[in-house]
Symmetry: C2
Amino acid sequence: MSEKHQLTLKDIARELGLAVSTVSRALKSHPDISKETIKLVKDYAEKHHYVPNLLAVNFRKSKTFNIGLIIPELVHQFFSSIISGVIKEANQHGYNVMICQSNEHVDDEKKVAQALLNSRVDGVIISLSNETDEVSHLKEFIAADIPVVQVDKISDLFDTPKVIVNDFAGAYQAVSHFIKSGYRKIAHIRGRLNVQHSNERFRGYAEAIKHEGLSYSEDYIKVCDQLTEEEGYEFAEQLMSLPGPPDAIFCVTDLVALGVMKYLREKNIQVPNQVGVIGFSNWKLGEIISPTLSTVHQPGYELGEKATELLLDKIVNGMDSPNQTVVLNADLIVRESVKNSPAVDGHY
Amino acid sequence: MSEKHQLTLKDIARELGLAVSTVSRALKSHPDISKETIKLVKDYAEKHHYVPNLLAVNFRKSKTFNIGLIIPELVHQFFSSIISGVIKEANQHGYNVMICQSNEHVDDEKKVAQALLNSRVDGVIISLSNETDEVSHLKEFIAADIPVVQVDKISDLFDTPKVIVNDFAGAYQAVSHFIKSGYRKIAHIRGRLNVQHSNERFRGYAEAIKHEGLSYSEDYIKVCDQLTEEEGYEFAEQLMSLPGPPDAIFCVTDLVALGVMKYLREKNIQVPNQVGVIGFSNWKLGEIISPTLSTVHQPGYELGEKATELLLDKIVNGMDSPNQTVVLNADLIVRESVKNSPAVDGHY
DNA sequence: GTGAAAGCGCTAACAG
DNA sequence: CTGTTAGCGCTTTCAC
């Protein structure tokens, strides 16, 4: 294998009988440099495959061109969509992404935050762990002049740009669709009371029902703790055993909806004719089961893109710009688990 | 906000009346330095939260402490498991991971390879795209003295350390299990003829059947092109319409198996009693459908860990060590889609 | 227009 | 044991 001493500015300068600084400026088409010299240098660089030593450039500029991304877990369709959006947007602007997992634990979150701080990332995007209820470890970034953007799972205690999904509108849309399709007794299996997502989805559910002049009984609201299929199954059983069982169930997430569908199938309750089901998140598996699951799509990829856009803006233009909160739409995807009444067809 | 000029070695040297080099060496407990000085310096550094400037260190050492990871797609359970393993192992040794997607296109693969080359990563882990049939773009890494490790989707044209899954043994295990459970007419929906995975799984199928003194007819072998649920459904229909339909179907991947199960459910063919089904990959959704799907687990996380281990070895110890190929086991996970004959219980 | 020189923070040979 | 010195490759004043 040949000697692979990488070509440096010095080499080019020597060969061309120029000064290093001239070569450096020529390569960036500095106005001071004559057209001829620029051409000369650029041609030489191209011909000999000059590649700037990023290590040196970054050192000189005190920039790593790395941004940190802290998410609860990597192996998860929603989060990997976010990651994908972040990477694409970051790479497009010459930045790398350092991915860290908190595993939904605040201790891990603190550890990786410290690591990112030490490795001098240029900025950080974070989606908070479920356990996180104070943000001192994140404020250290701000203290070190490193911008932060929060995405999806955010905290009001921390003033940064934020990108979130409109859970309220998504839920509202789902429940309205139930009503337009002829369902009247709509139950909701919701998530924990202290989680913002769950509260917003619940609010969307309640508002949609109210807006249509309907009402729901407290019996129709069930609270999931772990958001598992088993809980869905369990709560479906409870709901369907009520004296007046619901004719539609809106679930806080797809996995819970699958548990519900499993129960209904076992009891030979027809979906969507006897009971309609809508989930939330648009997991791949909703397309695969039968009947296919109607759900509310969360635009993970776009969340990642947008968050990165906001972060790069802060990195490039400084921390002083105002901290906006961007809200992306969560849209209903209608599949077989909701019946298709004529009243609805008219609308779409 | 206070001035946040980061503390440097120079600062410490000045404060302590020492030379910069002494401070540098003290911080790494160099044997030449006296215990007292070491303690003095370390205490000071600790007290004032000295953090080495990685940019400078890396520049000096010509090391980025970045490794590149090229995978076909991020939003995919198997690949995100690999990523997760790579990140964990890399971080543990002070390396970052730059993730790039080829989107299963060789053109994208070439582009990201070039980008990684330019950004001077210390090493690369790659899982080839389906389209990749020549590896000149990867050999450039070797020419630049950057070690490469291949994982899962590999090429024989490129001599590097490799980490793969024992597809043959996994398939063999699955089909043997069918036979031990009392199934005799076992079909196989396989993948493309030019894909190594598919061929190995087919070989495992064929060998297991042969070993048990059985045989299969060519009618029982179907070739999937896209590995979709639809193809599974389609081929299940074809298989079950044969004059002598199979009593078990081994599928090249879980998604195909789900298509098969969908067909069987619709035709009211009982799984597992009339027909047994086994998939491959251990996707999350196999646990959720009913009956739950037996499948062969591919250890993605472990693949990622092992590949990183091999890569770091090359990075640290140089490129000259021999290129080993590590084969990890793919183990059968028995769930409800295979009947539980007494003959089997005895074995496990 | 171009060149000379300084310096980013750190490491490592070399010298005492 | 510790200090001096040089230098990694690049950018950026400041001269000419």
